[in-house]
Amino acid sequence: MSEEDDFDLNELDDKELVEQIQDDLYDGLDEEVTEGTEILLSRGWDANDVLGEALVAGMKIVGIDFRDGILFVPEVLKCAGAMKGGMKILRPILAESAVDTSLGKFVIGTVKGDIHDIGKNLVAMMCEGSGFEIINLGINNPVENYLEAIDEHEPVIVGMSALLTTTMPYMGVVVEEMEKRGLRKDVHIMCGGAPLNQEFADSIGVPAYGRDAARSAEMAEEHVRSLDKKRGHR
């Protein structure tokens, strides 16, 4: 950035600052996103609003441009790094908030035999931004890890990820075991990963296929909202 372009974020009004945070997030500028987040909070913004209007909205633009081939993985990872900067500030505030805005727990992990986790971590971050409490199981998870996490955390959603054609069928093993144990009526299952598609998801009995991180977060939120609607509260 040249000296001419360098300006004080404090000089921007709220609307301009939110747009600037979104721009900085798009450009992967973590220090600027962190600073912008702090300024909005210092102006009395609710942490949920900062998260939703600045960070999550910014990442949704990133998600769309990734889907459309305008941004590529390295750029998206820089954006994610910038969002992490903002989340670091917001997370403790959100955790202490008196208002429970949590959408519930979301267990997510890469399946057995697979060590790829970039996409899975992006989904986790976007879902956290949407208001889920994330239990990230990491990589190479056998079915037992998912079952233990379900017992321990009682999540509303379990998400499975795979990058390899050779590992994605293992998702079917997890689904089958959850079915056997009668867990599917309480726990919604989602799946995603580069080689997956809707046809594969349908074949293992998981209609909720998230084609990218932004869409996965939207689908997860839509699921919880629809549950709430059915239950007639929230």
Partner: protein, 222 residues
């Protein structure tokens, strides 16, 4: 016989105006191996037209099936038979749907590492260390362009951990014996902080593409 780096699809007019041949449409990362196999059997050069799609799709497998389909939609009708020198390559079966549509054939396996090394060896390597990063001759030779620039590590070296956090070992599955490439691969492993292993595996079942072409005569021949 021609080998072309295809970035936008064209029609193979000059290769097919007078007679029809077999098309081998392959990944650009296999071009040296495919050319070498053809060179080893001069009779193939009259029978095969070799075309390659961008090797950079190695990092963007979602582009492979649409790219193959785009190429075949323009050119497949010019050939008697079409062979696809790709494995599944992370397309999740999408490449097989294209192949079925054009009545083509491909090399069996999940990816080039598997068909170069053979399924048994590849499974053994994966079992020994799941966090194994594989290189082939092409990837060693083009390491900077495909791996460093392709993953954006030249501009953002801080992303290294994001990409490679779970990797512990680099295995160079060599197609040919080349001392310089062995040194380079070992250097990359050291640079990345990975354990290193070298295996000369040759071209494995990539040869099967030409075995089939070689033994099966065409009815229409120029």
């Amino acid at each position: 016989m021609y080998a072309v780096w295809t970035k936008s699809v064209g029609t193979d007019k000059q290769n097919s105006e007078h007679f029809k041949k077999r098309l081998v449409l392959g990944c650009g990362a296999l071009v040296y191996d495919l050319l070498r196999l053809i060179k080893q059997n001069p009779s193939l050069s009259d029978k095969v037209n070799l075309q390659c799609l961008p090797a950079s799709w190695h990092n963007s497998p979602q582009l492979i099936a649409p790219g193959v389909e785009e190429y075949l939609s323009e050119n497949a009708h010019l050939y008697e038979e079409v062979y696809i020198a790709y494995a599944d390559c992370g397309t999740g079966g999408a490449i097989d749907r294209v192949i079925e549509k054009y009545n083509a054939k491909r090399i069996e396996g999940a990816h080039c590492y598997e068909f170069f090394a053979g399924t048994d060896v590849f499974e053994q390597l994966s079992e020994e260390e799941l966090g194994t990063f594989y290189l082939t001759d092409y990837l060693v030779k083009n390491f900077h362009r495909i791996m460093i620039k392709g993953l954006g590590l030249d501009k953002h070296p801080e992303l290294f951990d994001v990409y490679f956090e779970h990797y512990k070992k680099l295995v160079y599955l060599a197609q040919t014996e080349n001392e310089q490439w062995q040194k380079d691969a070992e250097h990359y492993a050291k640079d990345f902080g990975f354990e290193y292993e070298y295996r000369l595996v040759g071209t494995g079942s990539l040869d099967s593409v030409f075995d089939e072409i070689d033994i099966k005569p065409l009815e229409i021949e120029g």
